[in-house]
Symmetry: C2
Subunit: 140 residues, 2 copies
């Protein structure tokens, strides 16, 4: 189980790095945390499927270039490990506001490092409620 604990911690760190790169508008960090070999996938809120490194990272480049960057915080991240694939479920919100998006982030172990391979975010019908849902669990 120590291995699982290590894997969970590493996945959470990559997940946190994703929201940090988002908030800082750091395209280099964003490129670095996505998988190099697995095919990349992304559903932005309301958007159609982006597929492949060029489409997915090209869209991120546009999003991160548009000032001002959002203070995109991740709440209630839960890691679900399945061998060399990890699924993170979480909520996303802007700064101190209640989270307004639900997200599924999928990571893959590549060369000993957990990398993002799929991001799917969509709107919550109502902002997540209560103190547990308002507490971010990644540093941005």
């Amino acid at each position: 189980m120590a291995d699982d604990d290590d894997a969970t911690a590493s996945v959470l760190e990559t997940n946190a790095a994703f929201y940090r790169a988002f908030t800082r508008g750091d395209i280099a960090a964003m490129r670095e945390l996505w998988a190099e070999h697995a095919e990349l996938l992304c559903f932005h809120p309301g958007g159609s499927l982006l597929r492949g490194r060029t489409e997915v990272l090209g869209a991120w480049e546009q999003i991160l270039a548009a000032p001002p960057p959002l203070d995109m915080r991740c709440h209630e991240a839960q890691v679900h490990l399945h061998g060399e694939i990890a699924i993170v479920t979480c909520y996303e919100g802007n700064g101190a506001q209640a989270p307004h998006l639900a997200a599924t982030n999928v990571f893959i172990l590549e060369g000993g490092r957990w990398r993002m391979m799929h991001h799917h975010a969509g709107p919550l019908a109502q902002p997540a409620r209560g103190p547990a849902r308002a507490r971010p669990n990644s540093l941005n």
Copy 2:
């Protein structure tokens, strides 16, 4: 690659069974296609995370019990295989209408059978366009 082709076909069949069970309001078929051992996860459109067999299948029981069932069709299903985990990205729509949801479905190989372990569906900002997007690829 023949093994991958077989796996892809099996995953697509389970994915199609999911939309068939949805459309028919068939809770027995719905229960049967979800994983028995992996922890189940589900984000319905706009909803918070459902986790575990009781929560996920309980919600499906309520959805499927409410008449009339939707004619929920799956469009443009694409399988992304990663060992014993498969991710399906697709669009969902009601009957002949243009798809209005984007979905990520995650499957796991349990006892030689592909079972659903995560479903995340969220609204498209605008219905998917064009004939390619309007052609369902699962039989309902």
